[in-house]
Every structure is written in structure tokens, then in C-alpha cells.
Amino acid sequence: MATYAEMQQIYDDIRGDFRYDHELNGCLNCGICTATCPSAQFYDYSPREIVQLLWTENVEQIYDAMQEKIWACAQCMTCAARCPFKNSPGGLVAIMREVAIKHEMQSAKDVLRPFGRVMLKLITTGNQLSPDMIQPDHFPDWGPNIQKVEGDLRLLRKAIPVKTLQTVDTAWEVSLKTSVEMYTIWEMTGVLRSLELMDENLFDVIEDFIDEKREDYEDWLEEQEEDEEDDD
């Protein structure tokens, strides 16, 4: 359990986010956000409650909501599209999650652990999901449509007239240059720093991988220059 001062600091960090005043204007307490929220249908979660806790500066209950509730939000932003006061409860949840990560809250670590694999796949291939991951057994809800992916995937993908999509172990091919640019973006926007706070082991693996890719890219650039000199 955190001390009151810690909880106050967490609230201050949420309040201090540059997006905060844009996402929260006040609240008419109408409940439209909760009524339209898909997560509220299934979990003990209510966007109106989150908005009310923030608006009334209830630091203890805010801290409590960050243990579990805020992780139920699907970030679909239906609430933001419907709120008659033009608040964005989903946007507030995004800020709260970032603050939970910054404070290395256990709840954040628990929730994010299963996503380590997704993160790894994303960073190593630039894709979250690849065609060869779509196994018929894994998608019973697709019904008969699943047969469409049961054929010869390699052949089917070859039929797509876009070269970068003619792969099966990635959704599309990401060029080395794009990957390296993405790493820079993730570094500068604090994504990698968040990863380090949440899962140090995964961060180490990914950092090594990034270093390697950057070297590959440097080598490739040098090769290009040499080729040019040869041409001269």
C-alpha cells in the first residue's frame, strides 16, 4: 500500500500531463460514457467513475482504480465520441496507464507481462500478427470463413500485387531503414524507457536486437557509398 504522499504524487503526475485539460472539461454525470462503453459491459469498470474520481481529486480512490479498473479499458474511444461535454474518459485512462508505468506499479507489470511476446514480435519484425499465426484451431469464432486461410498461404500471398505483402511469417515486409527509424521514435517518445521500467529482461533482449539492426543498417549504408564510389 502506498503512502498518502505517494498517492498524491501519482495524482499530480496525472493532473500535470499536458493532455489532461483537453481530455477533462468537467462532467455532467450523465452516464453516456458508461452506457456505451464495451468494457463496462463485462468488467467492474465505469468510465464515468474514472472521470468523477479525477474531477473530484479523490487521490485514494484514483490509486485504487489504477490497481485493476483502468486496465479494463479497451481504448476504443467510443466514450470520447459520445460524451456531451466532449471529455475523453479513454484518453484519461491512457494518461493514468502511463503514470502507472512511470511509477512502476505492480498492477502495470502484471497486466503488461503477457504482451511481452507481442512487443518482441513487433520490434523484431515490425508486425504484430503474421498470416502463419492464423491457425484454424485458434479462431473457432471465424466459422466457415477460416477455410480461406487454410489453402496454400504462400501461393495465395503471392497473388497480392504488392511486393511487401508477399510474405507469410510477417504481415508485410518492413525495410531495414523503416525499422531503424521506428527504434529512434520509440526511444525519443519514451516507449523503450517504459519497457525498461516494466520488464528489464525483455528490455535487454530488445536493446541487443536494436543495436544489431542499427549496425546492419550502418553496414548497408557504407556498402551503398562504396558502390557509388566504384561507379565513379
Partner: protein, 349 residues
Amino acid sequence: MGDTVLVVGAGPAGLSAAANVTAAGYKVVMVEKEEVLGGAPILSGYARLVPSGEWAKDAIGRMVSRVEEDANCTVHKNAKVTQLDGEAGNFTATLSNGETVKAGAVVLATGFTHFDSINKPEWGFGTYEDVLTTTQMEQMVSSGKIICPSDGRVPERVAILLCVGSRDRQIGREWCSKICCTVSANLAMEIKEISPGTDVFIYYMDIRTYGLYEDKFYWKSQEEFKTKFVKARIAEVTASGDGRLLVKGEDTLVKRPIVIPFDIVVHAIGMDPNEDNPEISRIFGVGLEKHGFIERAEHYTNTCGTTRRGIYSCGAAYAPETIDDSISQGAAAGARAVADLHALVRKAG
């Protein structure tokens, strides 16, 4: 002509202004774009009015005949002002029927436009036959029979959704329409009176039955007519397989989403600025405030003024307004127009 006031719009506000101008010994020329006088309560067929309980056609009907029988009041129906020249004390208006009117002052009593529920598609109006507006429900009450338009059955449950087209930034309506809470509490009583087997639920964010409307409407509707007030704004109206309507909202007490079946859903529609206001602003040279209503002159010392000298306004042309207040403001605008004309004439003489 320094002894004539041009009154545009013959709703409660304009009818009141006209009567007060002639009572002071001046003349009125009235220009109304529709073919009947009386404004929204007559044109939309309201039932019993708040707070008097009188039928609209009787109450407003009296105001109409007072003006129609007034020898000092000339009425142009089916007409609009298309051009206005001159200045305070000496205006010349050209009408769409080809006539020209000389007047010393102008009172704009051009009122409001009902919110069109089509602009809020998630609440089912235009999609489901049993989703109605308060004006349609008023007409049903006037007809003396409460039935579902889809198949004529008597509804077991009616939901009234408040603030439809008001207090909603998503659709640029940042005002409260002031009267719909009271009108809805009243409508619930009227429904129950005609159809005792029908239960009425009102979904609200806040109840604004201000002043003396608190016990007369909000309390009475609950105590004597068992109207259920539920604090929640509805998110969506859909249909169930058996032809009933499904209303989806949050039960704000237990903080859970709920879906409730109803037979009729009524939108308590708000008051938009008159859709003619951009045209009125151009023709009469008056400013509009940020929501699109007519802008007032100095708030405390020139309450009935507009941004142009010699042109006055009143009622729902300024902001969402009740009939009672529109009538008071109409009287004030008429009196102020006459007083300013009197001063002008004295100065000239």
C-alpha cells in the same frame, strides 16, 4: 413614420409586443411568415400549457384575437421582410408580398426553431416509428388517445429522454432549453391521466423545474402520477425482436450499464436559434450572439435592444425562453420601442 412599430413574428412575444404598442396609442404593422398567428404553441399544436394548465389553442388564441380585432394593427400573413432601409425613427421595409411599410421602430419577435432529432441518430428518431418528439406527443395528448404509432397498442411503458438537442457539445448545442424539464414532467401527468395503465419514466441529468415549477410539476408528477425520474442520460435506442424499443443507459447508482424495454420513447427536444437568423441578421443589420440567437444590446440598461438602434427583440429570439417570459419581454420591447419613438419625436419637434 414615427407613429408605427413594425413587429416581425406573431408568436407569444410578438403578439404581446403588438398589444402593448397599440395600448400606448401607436400603430402596429405585423409581419408573420406562416399563414396562422400564434407562433410555436399554435403551429406545433401544443396541448396544455405550463404552468397555467390551459389548452394552448385557448390561451394563445386569446392573444391572437386581441391583435386581430385591433383596428390599429395591420397584419401581413405569409410574408417576410426582404429589405430594410433608413434608421431609427424612419425605417422603410419592403415585404415579400410587394408591399412597403414605413415604421419608426422594429421589434424582432422571430422566435426559435425546434431541434430536429434526426441530428441525434443514436436515439432512434426517424428509424423507429415509436420514437417521438415532445411536440408529437403533445399532439397525441391533444387527440385524447395514447397509442404506439407502429401498431396502435396501448403502451405499458413510456420513456421521456430529456435534453435532446440541448446541453450537448457533440452537436454544438451548448445551452439548456429551460422549459423541457417542466414540459416533460407535465406531459408525464397528461399521459397518465389519459392512459392510467401506462407508466412513464423520465431520464435526466439534472431536473430544472425552477422557481414555482418545483412542487407544481416535479413533485406532483411523482406523488400524484407516479412518474419515475431516473438519473441517467440514454446512450442509444434500439429495437428488440418483439417490436419493443430497447433503451440503453447507465444505472448511475450502481454504475452499471442497463438495457430497458419500452413501448414509446419521447425526445424532449430543445430550442435551436431560429433557422432564419443568418438571413434576419443580414436584412435587419443586427448581430447574433455565439450560439446563433439575436444579440442583446447593453444587458441592463437596454434589455430589449439589439446591436442596431431602433431595432428591438424579445422572447425565444434572444435565447430559449418560456411563453410567460416571452410575453413579458414582448411587452417590454413594445413599451421601449414606443418610449424611444416618443423621445425622438419630441427632440425633432
